[in-house]
Symmetry: C2
Subunit: 251 residues, 2 copies
DNA sequence: AAGTGGTCTAGACCACCCA
DNA sequence: GGGTGGTCTAGACCACTTC
């Protein structure tokens, strides 16, 4: 596959091309947990790129938890537990797929509403701003695992229909394609809560069952708030995340 | 303060020195949400460093959620919601402090045990390996908010005493100072659960009250597992995290 | 077209780890 | 001491945004 192409043949920057090659090597098991990669200078010579480009590739992979470097020692493959754990936005469809489940959804309602005080504050917009509210039950292998209550800031006159969402599978994909919705970053707030009557009905659990509650505020590439989403998950649902050492630096 | 020192006077690399200056500028409100920083070339000239060093400083800050860059547009200050949200290991004492609360702890027990099958699997060690188990109630402003059940892989013959932990305030700090315990990365798994009789007693909540359950596996700088910690928090406790766009890249 | 960030190079020197 | 990653430079060119 891509490993035999030159960087110019793939449309990628050289460092990305290199990173993909190394990633493939790891995925194919030729390098495993805590094994050392070749030294940077060697990689540079072998792949005919500058050492700086090699370093860029390594940093790119390190950010993703695939490898780690130690000062005078070398660069190593991260253990598998870490390697798979990088969170991204709209992880539900993707995460579920990655974990070997089939993601699904059942749309509860689609409404055009005005932002309440609470939501306006969270999104830092005017109270009353028109929003599209989409409520869905999320499924894994046809079993309900969570409810999502999304409040979307869309361009004026946007209309979302049930069948559009149903056809596209991923709400985000649809919004991106149709409305230039372009999430760049999000902040999440997690806590535990108890199922109310509605939750219980949709999720098929008793009232007062424990739920994982996750609030998300999503920002566009220009860091404008574009979504507030309240998600509630049954207790069998796992939310995974990776955290790094506070490398130092006092603050 | 540090802004008037030359890079050589602070023991820091130049890019860190520059990053601190810019960070100060933001903290003092001279630059706020979504405002543009000076162009890279201008920063380079003004601070008499190469453009590459400027870029390193900016990438360093971007990773921490302080700023973001957009290709042909410029580099901007992240909105405050994002700016404060970077998770690090042993966030409890630090987070609590950052949020204006006073962190505390009440030690339930300290035991020397052998790793159970379950924990041995998680930590990827031999079943029966000696571990130190520390159970604590975590407090904010003297109110119990969570229980931590830590299983630590320590050098042979390590002894932890109640008074040591109590004196040091932070368990991690103690372990780092005394036993070369050096967490570099961790993986967390969150879900909802219900309080059992013990939880209820320690946390002063009813049995079956919803709890936020967080399992953490911590790895050393060499990516050896050094801790498994099971944490349970009452529903008023908030766990915050920041996630980035799946920048692209298919995988 | 002008201005901005993104990629890439070649080479130098420093800091850390280990035998 | 020899090998490794970490920092830094000066300059070139590309890609994207904005006017």
């Amino acid at each position: 596959m891509k490993k035999d192409l030159t960087p110019s043949e793939t449309q990628l920057p050289r460092y990305r091309w290199l990173a993909d090659i190394i990633r493939d090597t790891i995925d194919r098991g030729l390098l495993t947990d805590n094994q050392a990669l070749p030294p940077e200078r060697e990689l540079a010579e072998h792949y005919e790129v500058s050492r700086d480009t090699v370093r860029k590739a390594l940093r790119y992979m390190e950010e993703r938890g695939i490898i780690y470097s130690d000062h005078g020692r070398g660069t190593f493959v991260s253990p598998a537990i870490v390697r798979g754990t990088t969170r991204f936005i709209d992880s539900f469809s993707q995460d579920t797929g990655n974990r070997g489940g089939v993601p699904g959804q059942r749309i509860i309602s689609i409404e055009n509403i005005g932002a309440s005080m609470a939501i306006a504050t969270l999104l830092n917009i005017e109270s009353g701003t028109p929003l599209v509210r989409v409520r869905r039950v999320r499924l894994i292998d046809d079993i309900p695992v969570g409810v999502h209550d999304a409040h979307l800031v869309l361009p004026r006159g946007s209309r979302l229909t049930r069948s559009q969402i149903e056809r596209s599978g991923s709400l985000y994909k649809l919004l991106t394609a149709q409305y230039g919705f372009d999430p760049a970053e999000a902040v999440e707030n997690l806590c535990a809560g108890a199922a109310d009557a509605d939750d219980a009905q949709w999720l098929d659990v008793p009232v007062a069952a424990p739920l994982l509650i996750c609030e998300r505020i999503t920002l566009s590439d220009r860091r404008q708030p574009i979504e507030y989403c309240l998600m509630k998950y049954v207790s069998s649902y796992r939310y995974r995340t990776r955290i790094a050492r506070h490398s130092d630096g006092t603050r």
